[in-house]
Amino acid sequence: MRKTECLAMILAGGQGSRLGALTKKIAKPAVPFGGKYRIIDFPLSNCSNSGIDKVGVLTQYRPLELHSYLGTGGAWDLDRNGGGVFILPPYAQEKGADWYKGTADAIYQNINFIEITNPEYVLILSGDHIYTMDYSWMIESHKMNKGEATIGVIEVPWEEAPRFGIMSTDKKGRVTEFAEKPSKPKSNLASMGIYVFNWKFLKRYLEEDAKDSVSNHDFGKNIIPKMLAADAKLFSYAFDGYWKDVGTIASLWEANMDLLKENPSLNLHDPLWKVYSVNPSLPPHYIASTANVTSSIVSEGAMIYGEVENSVIFHGVKIGKGAKIINSVIMPFTTIGENAYIEKAVVAQNCEIGSGAKIISEDNSVIVVPEGEVVLAENSSKQVG
């Protein structure tokens, strides 16, 4: 059998509580994004396009919809003989059952799974980032540096640096210092939460960390600082494409709006780097003669009779005559009645917005309509906020 050189593990168990109403019923990685995708499509497609054909997906919070979405991985071309997608929720062991207590603990609890594959390297990914990236270059760089760990980093604006885990590096890219959310950052290289580890090296640290009762069992907070303290060979790998953490409503909305620029920096139309998703089997969308759509993206099966400006319209959405959608994200199979007005909103899937309803926030923040909600014109003002 072919040996798996690199096994990818996607951390997809987080509750995503900062996404509020959008993650009441589904896990964060299953949240719809960009007109036809779900967030997890990005790391999965990256794996598939990078030639990584064995991917563990660690799930925990509200996993059912995510599990059914992943299926056997066929949508990402990951239904492979002896490989493909492995769904890894917490499971009971002889000493009892335990939830994943942190990102490192989630991997620790799956040591058995990783040992079966026995890869040279493990690639740890997060299930809540939007980006397209060829991991094979990062792995190559890890090999060239003869590193024990390589951390994906991206330059962020200096004023935003205090929000991230910040890496300081020497000329060769070796990490000299790591500071989690520093108030006075020494560098503007932010950790992307993407790591390549030599498996044997990582395993040692995971086992030590598991014994540490005061640890948060988190890669950023515990594992990386411990490795750094032991003077391990940690390198950075700089990524210069589009990358966005969509952990909050505001950032999710922004990332959607980023797709609407005249020349979006995230190219979803690259024939050599397609982002895959589960296909809803819907026809091309219909734009009626009363419709007017500008600076927007629209997916299959949508029916548009109204006006859409600078918005993301998912598959199966219906927008009635005279309705106006501005700077908003309308998720799958939501119906918007005639003459409704929606501005700067994220309307989740399967909602019904009545005719004449008005959805706009009073304070310029992004307003969210949770999954399956029915909003009528009479009470639409109460919906605000």
């Binding site: 089997s281 091309p284 969308h285 734009i287 009626a288 419709a291 500008t294 600076s295 629209v298 319209i313």
Partner: protein, 368 residues
């Protein structure tokens, strides 16, 4: 419907739609922005619960093989049953042609299947139908052979097979006509029968020198078998000429028909291409159009169908046209009443116009 196997006969007459079928069979002609004609029959079979479908291949079959592959996108890549390819039989001494020869050659496949019935269909007709009703009708009437027809609302100069039925559905006459008139009962090329009856007809037809299943087979069964007609009430479009292709495409722009065919509980499946959602730029203006994923629209599109991955540049005007996969309409180009086959490039500022009742066809891959 597990008791019914499907056979889609792709050896169809494509004489009247030559521009689009030079390199592909009729079944592989792109339709409605995303599909190929075969998708409609095949999806109806799958949605009816049939899980064995044989595809009787025509000579130029590469595009159809590339489209269907393992059958996975139709959920037909299965351990048992699933999708089967039936290659065309070579004409011996060049004397025999037609589908009887090919059916005859594959009779063992049909005999060895575990299903009781066989449902034969072509691919040129656009519909979304659940064959469950056809099977129930077949069993209730005790028919030996059931053929599906619909009532044509307009005259069709490309011709068709017109049938006459008694009140109980018994078929009294079958005639192939050059023109079918309003209110005619026109056969849809869909036949349901016990597989032994099918085998008998094919064998007898073959031994008597017949070549065509309908003309030499069904029309000559005399009284030995009873034939019943099942009326299908849904939308039907027959694609047998360039004019009918254009007409049906424009009909799909009617949201009621679009919804009936595509937004039905039973979906129409096709090969998945994983294109990004369509992108409308600042100056885009689209009205009464079907626009597939992967398109980037910067110009004006009206009463038109854009297939996957079409680029409509700045200042471009697309009117009453059908633009197939990956065409590139560059700045200030204008097309009206035009069908652009796949990968056509209309360069900067070129104008192309067809007649409103006869579109101009730009062949695959042409750069203008």
């Amino acid at each position: 419907m597990k008791t019914v196997m499907g056979i889609i006969d792709l050896q169809e007459n494509d004489k009247l739609i030559k521009e689009m079928t030079a390199k592909r069979p009729l079944a592989a002609v792109p339709f409605a922005g995303r599909y190929r004609l075969i998708d409609f029959s095949l999806s109806s079979m799958v949605n009816s619960g049939m899980d064995t479908v044989g595809i009787l291949l025509p000579n130029k079959s590469r595009s159809i093989l590339d489209h269907l592959r393992s059958g996975k996108d139709w959920d037909l890549a299965r351990k048992h049953d699933g999708l089967f390819y039936l290659p065309p039989a070579e004409a011996e001494n060049g004397l025999r042609n037609g589908n009887i020869q090919s059916f005859y050659r594959h009779l063992d496949f049909i005999e060895n299947s575990s299903q009781k019935y066989v449902l034969i269909s072509g691919s040129r007709i656009v519909y979304n139908m659940n064959f469950d009703n056809v099977l129930r009708f077949h069993q209730n009437t005790g028919a030996d052979i059931t053929m599906v027809y619909n009532m044509e609302s307009t005259e069709n100069t490309a011709g068709g097979t017109v049938i006459k039925t008694a009140e109980n559905g018994l078929v009294q006459d079958i005639a192939v006509q050059a023109v079918t008139y309003e209110d005619a009962k026109v056969a849809m090329g869909i036949y349901l029968m016990d597989k032994h009856i099918f085998t008998n007809i094919v064998e007898s037809c073959f031994s008597h020198g017949g070549t065509n299943f309908l003309i030499d087979g069904l029309m000559h069964v005399d009284d030995s078998y009873s034939i019943y007609g099942f009326k299908h009430d849904g939308y039907v479009a027959r694609i047998n000429s360039t004019a009918s292709y254009y007409k049906a495409s424009m009909e799909i722009l009617n949201p009621e028909i679009w919804q009936e065919i595509f937004m039905n509980v039973d979906r129409v499946y096709t090969k998945v291409k994983d294109e990004a959602p369509a992108q409308y730029k600042k100056n885009a203006k689209a009205t009464n159009s079907l626009i597939a994923n992967g398109c980037v629209v910067e110009g004006t599109v009206e009463n038109s169908i854009l297939f996957r991955g079409v680029k409509v540049g700045k200042g471009v005007h697309v009117k009453n046209s059908i633009v197939m996969q990956k065409c590139d309409l560059q700045e200030d180009a204008l097309i009206e009443n035009v069908i652009c086959d796949k990968n056509v490039v209309i360069t900067h500022g070129k104008w192309l116009k067809g007649a409103s009742n006869y579109p101009l066809i730009v062949e695959k891959g042409v750069v203008i």
